[in-house]
């Protein structure tokens, strides 16, 4: 097996990606698919802001608007933010712990393809009679009432992609527990790895309630059950609980890895170890834990009563404390450091004031009695965009610039990167800051239009102008990517020159086996320690030997494709289409057949021999 070094044709490359089980290639798949969905979700956002730029606008109809907001939210959370974070987790986490791959490479590929087919299924709704229109929260009474197949697309699409996410989470957990290089103790793991660990554990506990909720709704809508049918003894409040028991932790599943990305960037470009590393780890775990204790703050106006509201209000405020700890630790990481303002650092720096605003409005909405005013208004829209865009999206953009050289071996243009930052950053604040006021002035969220004469006009226009700036930023980023890849100037192991963690110890992009010899980790910021002692790279922890690698496989694709096909059968079965049940069965047959093949056929992988490794140049560990 020495084909890996050869140049491949287009067809062969596509086949390579369809069958790959290499975490670095899966990362690229996540990046491309997540990026694509990010663009779609962004386009939907632009439509929203065009529609709301002026009162009584009719750019889109009321029904279409509800489809757009539903798809915007669902796409951005499930199909853009999560997969993009998964892209970085896949690309970087195994490298950071000095592993050759994740624990279950096959399952890793399966997770991606499930997510991908779920996302495609959901988006096909646009062409097959209309998208879901009950909001990304899909509250039961409205979702059950909704005509057409929109909500069915939501239920089935999220179910499929949710399986993928759950698998991804479990895989990361096992990887971090089992595959750390010699010397990589838990308290020497980089913070991005730590946040991947905690986020994965949260996925493990948060996605099952969603699965349950979606299953109940699927049965209600497709198979005549009455879980949410009040007249038949059902209950719609149960959905709200199930959704938010998932939904709130989900927010932290997104933000913790974002914190992880920024922790790496602050430390790297300040040339300082992370201030208060242990308390950062502790805060991460604590946030992960508390994240499960606060879901009902999304339901303050549901009428749970003052006792529940008071308890959840106080619990929610408590989360502010570990979050605050993190902010100060980042600031003091830079304090006394030697801060270099690269593009990733621009984003990290811009993140602090943005996220602090989102955090403090979080405490404001936690104030239950006052939240009766904020809830379901543009104030809340402003709050969660400050957290998610000001936190997660800035982190994704930062991470893209920071790890691009590691993933692709090229460096994104810094000047373009900084212009992108300014466009996006200004646009972001322009769009969302004013929305706090819109909410307080009485504008509910999820409205397809507003009537003139209520004092909302000017502010909405400002907000829409901001969206134009953000769009310009994103377009510039795409341009940057194209220019960079066309120029194709390759970089070395540690292109930022301040790299501290293991991923910077190996070539960019790394060879498919990552580490020729597993590195010996002697402390936090393993590579930095070696560099400070004047060494060029890591000390190997093992003699050069054969490396065992898994074989590529097309089966993950097939398993996912089967569920994709089956979903159509399940959905159209309510219309009494004669082909529906056969399609359902066919799809399930493909899935379970593929699983059977996987179980029966032994696949032992292959070995890279010592001699071949010696021939490889530039791949020293």
């Amino acid at each position: 097996m020495s084909t890996y070094a050869q140049k491949k044709g287009f067809g062969a490359t596509v086949w390579d990606y369809l069958t790959t089980v290499d975490h670095k290639k899966i990362a690229i798949l996540y990046l491309i698919a997540g990026g694509l969905f990010f663009l779609i979700g962004g386009l939907e956002a632009v439509f929203i802001r065009i529609q709301l730029a002026v009162p009584n606008n009719d750019f889109v109809s009321a029904g279409a608007f509800n489809e757009i907001i539903t798809m915007h939210g669902t796409t951005m959370i499930f199909l853009a933010a999560m997969p993009l974070l998964f892209a970085f987790m896949n690309a970087v986490m195994p490298l950071q712990i000095g592993a050759r791959d994740v624990a279950f490479p096959f399952v890793n590929a399966l997770g991606f393809w499930l997510f991908f087919f779920g996302g495609i299924f959901l988006n096909l709704s646009w062409f097959l009679g209309g998208a879901p229109d009950a909001g990304w929260t899909s509250y039961a009474s409205l979702a059950i009432h909704s005509k057409g197949h929109g909500v069915d697309f939501y239920v089935l699409g999220l179910q499929i992609s949710g399986f993928g996410t759950l698998m991804g989470g479990i895989n990361f957990l096992v990887t971090i527990i089992n595959m750390r290089a010699p010397g990589m103790t838990y308290m020497r793991m980089p913070l991005f790895t730590w946040s991947t660990f905690v986020a994965s554990a949260m996925i493990l506990f948060a996605f099952p309630p969603l699965t349950v909720g979606l299953t109940l709704m699927m049965f209600d809508r497709l198979f005549g059950a009455n879980f949410f049918e009040v007249a038949m003894g059902g209950n719609t409040i149960i959905w709200e609980h199930l959704f938010w028991v998932f939904g709130h932790p989900e927010v932290y599943i997104l933000i913790l890895p974002a914190f992880g990305i920024f922790s790496e960037i602050f430390s790297t470009f300040s040339r300082k170890r992370l201030f208060g590393y242990s308390s950062m780890v502790f805060a991460t775990v604590l946030i992960g834990f508390l994240g499960f204790m606060v879901w009902a703050h999304h339901m303050f106006t549901t009428g749970l009563g003052p006792v529940a509201n008071a308890i959840f209000a106080v619990a929610t405020m408590a989360i502010g404390v570990p979050t605050g700890i993190k902010i100060f630790n980042w600031l003091f990481t830079m304090w006394g450091g030697s801060v270099k303002f690269t593009t990733p650092m621009y984003y990290a720096f811009g993140f602090i004031p943005s996220f602090v605003c989102g955090g403090v409005t979080g405490v404001m909405v936690a104030t239950a009695a006052a939240d009766y005013q904020y809830h379901d208004t543009y104030f809340v829209v402003a709050h969660f965009h400050y957290v998610i865009v000001g936190g997660v999206v800035l982190a994704l953009l930062a991470g893209t610039h920071y790890w691009w050289p590691k993933m692709f071996g090229t460096m994104l243009n810094e000047t373009l990167g900084k212009i992108t930052f300014w466009l996006f950053f200004i646009g972001f604040h322009l769009t969302f800051f004013i929305q706090h006021f819109l909410g307080l002035w009485g504008m509910p969220r999820r409205v397809f239009t507003f009537l003139p004469g209520q004092g909302f006009d000017a502010a909405n226009m400002v907000s829409s102008v901001g969206a134009a700036f953000m769009s310009a930023g994103v377009i510039l980023l795409l341009l940057n990517i194209v220019v960079t890849q066309v120029k194709n100037v390759k970089v070395g192991n540690d292109p930022w020159e301040d790299g501290r963690t293991l991923e910077w110890a190996i070539p960019s992009p790394p060879p498919f086996y990552n580490f020729k010899q597993l590195p010996l980790v002697r402390g936090l910021d393993a590579l930095w320690l070696e560099k400070m002692e004047g060494k060029k790279g890591m000390t190997p922890a093992e003699p050069l030997g054969d490396i065992h690698m898994p074989n590529a496989s097309f089966i993950p694709f097939m398993i996912s494709l089967g569920l994709f096909i089956a979903a159509f059968g399940a959905m159209y079965h309510v219309n009494d289409k004669p082909w529906a049940i056969p399609v359902l069965i066919l799809g399930l047959a493909v899935t379970f057949g593929s699983m059977l093949v996987r179980s029966l056929k032994d696949d032992h992988g292959f070995h890279i021999h010592k001699e071949e490794l010696q021939d490889e140049k530039g791949a020293e560990a």
Binding site: A62, G63, F65, N66, D133, A134, G135, Y139, S141, L142, H145, T236, I237, K272, R273, S279, T301, T302, G303, P306, N309, A310, A313, V314, M317, G320, V321, G324, I325, I327, F328, N329, F332, W335, G336, G337, S338, F341, V360, V363, M364, T367, A369, A370, Y372, Q373, D376, F437, L440, W441, G442, P444, R445, V447, F448, T449, F450, L451, Q454, M532
Partner: protein, 352 residues
């Protein structure tokens, strides 16, 4: 000289006031122009949390700015690798906890206060209780003790506690009068209860007409599910109630055209719309009660209240409120019939 300074001061204050009022929205719809006890409590909490949070932001920003100017990279020096500082970490753990406690105490107490509806559940209490029933894009209000029903325009007395009993008859909505107090959902499963006070002076400033809104996504016309609140003195309210109660059977049309309209109405519309305020079973009230339609502030909650808009509405409700429950449930009307209907409906008044 002094006069000039005074003038400057006055104009400065005037400008400030202008800027502030620009920042606080319209008095009839803004939560920042609280017009009653509940909104006041909530506004106070907003202010308290804002002060604390602005304090936090200032501290962060000071450090942030210092870092930006003092610690930029100037040379190739390797900074000292500091592990952390226990003192600092304790400080920024304890102080936030204290700040949050300052906020948590009034939050909890307000939460209990706003949920206190013991009075409405008491036997023979004389509290005013209004049953709010939400429907796809319209609001129904039943005055329990007064035994009358009205729709779309909520009529309430000022300066006293008004209790609400909320439920939805189709999908979940949320009942919100921003200037007067926070919202509470109208669930399909259960009844929610809370109270509001409508301040008399503030109501006057707001033209005695507050805007109410649906705050929970409920379908295409969620954005148009507005209602209005007429806040009047207790005396006026009592007079209104007795006027309403006086309507025992459908009012006779005054003019010939209106009589024609009434005839059409009785044929095509009365199956859904009542024109007497008596309390029928909830499920039977499938459309807004029109007893006092002539005195409404809007048509269907959103259109200007005049004959032209009324005719437009009857002609094609779908263009004004997509997905509403009236469209297509009655025969098409000629222009003449529309004129007659409009004449009749606009004449439906209970106050002289």
């Amino acid at each position: 000289m002094k006069r000039l300074a005074n003038w400057r001061l006055v104009s400065l204050f005037a400008m400030l006031a202008l800027a502030l009022s620009g920042c606080s929205g319209k008095p009839f719809v803004s939560a920042l122009r609280p017009a009653g006890e509940v909104a006041d409590i909530q506004y106070d909490l907003m202010k308290l949390s804002t002060y604390i949070m602005v304090g936090v932001i200032i501290i962060v920003m000071v450090i942030f700015i210092i870092v930006f100017f003092r610690f930029r990279r100037k040379d190739d020096r390797i900074p000292k690798q500091v592990e952390g500082s226990h003192t600092l970490e304790i400080i920024w753990t304890v102080i936030p906890i204290l700040l949050l406690l300052i906020l948590a105490v009034p939050t909890v107490s307000a939460t209990f206060k706003l949920a206190d509806v013991k009075e409405m559940d008491k036997k023979d209490s004389d509290a005013l209780v209004i049953k709010v029933r939400s429907h796809l894009y319209w609001w129904d209000f039943e005055y329990e003790k007064q035994k009358i029903v009205t729709s779309q325009d909520l009529v309430v007395p000022t300066d006293e506690k008004v209790y609400f009993d909320l439920k939805s008859l189709d999908v979940k909505h949320s009942f919100w009068i921003p200037a007067v107090g926070g919202k509470l959902d109208t669930n399909t499963d259960n009844i929610n209860k809370f109270w509001l006070v409508f301040d008399d002076k503030k109501a006057n400033e707001a033209g005695n007409l507050f805007y109410g809104k649906c705050a929970e996504l409920c379908g295409p016309s969620h954005a148009l599910m507005d209602f209005k609140v007429k806040a009047i003195s207790r005396d006026q309210f009592d007079a209104w109630v007795s006027n309403m109660k006086a309507v025992k059977e459908p009012e006779k049309a005054q003019t010939d055209v209106a009589a024609q309209g009434q005839e059409i109405f009785n044929k095509s519309c009365i199956g859904c719309h009542a024109v007497t305020p008596d309390v029928k079973p909830e499920a039977a009230r499938v459309a807004p009660n029109l007893t006092n339609f002539g005195e409404r502030a809007r048509v269907a909650g959103i259109l200007e209240h005049n004959k032209e808009e009324l005719k437009n509405w009857i002609k094609n409700p779908e263009t004004y409120k997509p997905g509403n429950e009236m469209t297509g449930k009655y025969p098409d009307m000629t222009d003449e019939q529309l004129d007659a209907l409009a004449e009749y409906l606009m004449g439906l008044k209970v106050q002289d």
